[in-house]
Amino acid sequence: MEFQGRDIISLKDFSREEIDYILRIARTMESVAKNGSDLLAGKILATLFFEPSTRTRLSFESAMHRLGGSAIGFAEAEIASVKKGENLADTMRVVESYADIIVVRHPLEGAARLAAEFAGVPVINGGSGAEEHPTQALLDLYTIVKEKSRIDGLSIALVGDLRYGRTVHSLAYALSLFDVTLHFVSPEMLRMRREVLETITGKIEVVETNRLEDVIDGVDVLYMTRIQKERFPDAAEYAKVRGSYRIDLPLLESAREDMIVLHPLPRVDEIAFEVDKTIHARYFGQVWNGVVMRMALLGLLLGQIK
C-alpha cells in the first residue's frame, strides 16, 4: 500500500483497507518506540501550531525523535509573521523548504486542506478548527483495537459536543467504514454536524439521543468529549447540560464490565476523578498510543515504512 508523499487531511479520504494497514503498522511501532530507531535520521518535521496545543505538538515531536528524526516549529505565542497577517498559503510555501513533512494546527476549518495544496511535502492535519483531527481519531481507533482486539461488531457511543468536537467528526468518518453501531449522545444544540451525517448515513447504523443513560448499559466503548461553556448562550443552560453528560461511579454501575471509557483529553469535569481507577478507564493509555500511531504515520508518509 502506497503512503509515501500523501497527506493526512481528513479521514473521509481513507479506505477501510488503508486504515487497517495503518493500525497494523502502529502495532509494530510499540517496540520501536521503546527501543528507539534511526529510521527517520536526517528527516525534519515542522510543527506549525497556529493555535495552542502542547499535547499534540509534543506527541508528534516525541514520535519524530523516537524514529531518529528532528523537529522544528513554532507555537502560537511566537508567530509574529502570522499576527502581521501573513496568510497560510504563503507560510506553507516558505516552510516546505525547511522540512520533509509538516504538521499544521489551525483555528479555521479546511485549513489543512489548503495547507496541503500549497506545500510540496506531506502535510498532516494536527487539528483544523472544529472540523477534524484525524491523527487523534486514528490513535483512538488503535486504542480500541488494542483493548478489544477488533472494531467490527462493537457498539460505540460518542458523547458530548458533537457539533464542534473535531475528533468525533474524524472518528465518525473512520468508524463508518467498520461494522459498528454508533450512538451519538449530545444536547440538542450540539448534535452531530450535517456534513458528517450526510457522509456516513447508510453505511452504518446510527442512533442519536440526548440521554447518556439510554446508552450506558449497552455500549462497548464510551467516547467522552468536553462541552465548552462558550457554546451556550447563558450559564444556566450550560449548567443544566454539564451535569447530564458526566460519568461517575453511580452511572457506571449499569455499564458492561468490559466497557471502556476514552477521552481525547484534556477533560474538565465530564469524567469524575473517581472513574480513573476503575477497570473502565483507558484515557491515559491513549497518550502512549498517540506517540506510537504518529510514529507509524511519519514513517509511512516519508516512505521509510512500506
Partner: protein, 154 residues
C-alpha cells in the same frame, strides 16, 4: 394549456431565459442585476404551465446578452433553464444551462469559520452533490449549502 407565446410578448434583440424552475424568475432578475431602474424592456412570467416542468418561469431581457458567470449562477438556481439569444425577433442560438460537477468562484462558503473566507490566494470551490434539490459541499471545510443559502449571496 396556455399559449405562452401570447402570454409574454416577444422581444426584438436580447435574451430569453426559459424553463426557469417555477418561482425563481425574480432570483434570475436579481442575478442579472436588474433593479427596475435600469433601462430596457424586461418581461417576466411566473408559474406558466409547462410540458417539461409542471410550471416554469420565463424572463426576457431586451438589448442584453448574458455573461458566462451569470449563466453559471442561473444554472445553480434553475438547472433546467435554457438561454435563447434573440436577434430581430428570431432565436439565433439556444442552449441549456449546465451545472458543472465542480463550481469555482461564483459562491462563498456559508461557514464563517472556513479558511476559504479568509485572506488566502484561492477561489472557493464546491462539489455538486445534487442538482435538484441543489446541494453543494465545500472543498475545504465540507460544509453543505442548499439553494436558499446561495440565494442569500446573490
Amino acid at each position: 394549456m396556455v399559449e405562452t407565446t401570447l402570454l409574454v410578448s416577444k422581444i426584438k434583440n436580447g435574451t430569453v431565459i426559459d424553463h426557469i424552475t417555477g418561482g425563481h424568475a425574480l432570483d434570475v432578475v436579481k442575478i442579472l442585476g436588474i433593479t427596475g431602474r435600469t433601462r430596457g424592456t424586461v418581461l417576466i412570467a411566473m408559474y406558466v404551465p409547462s410540458k417539461q416542468l409542471t410550471t416554469k418561469d420565463i424572463v426576457k431581457v431586451e438589448g442584453r446578452e448574458l455573461k458566462p458567470e451569470e449563466v453559471d449562477k442561473i444554472a445553480l438556481l434553475a438547472p433546467r433553464a435554457s438561454i435563447n439569444i434573440i436577434r430581430n425577433y428570431k432565436v439565433i442560438n439556444k442552449k441549456r444551462v449546465r451545472l458543472p460537477d465542480i463550481i469555482k468562484g461564483i459562491a462563498q462558503c456559508g461557514n464563517p469559520a472556513c479558511i476559504s473566507n479568509s485572506n488566502e490566494p484561492i477561489q472557493p470551490k464546491f462539489y455538486v452533490k445534487s442538482q435538484d434539490p441543489l446541494m453543494i459541499r465545500c472543498h475545504y471545510c465540507s460544509y453543505i449549502m442548499e439553494k436558499k443559502d446561495i440565494l442569500e449571496q446573490f
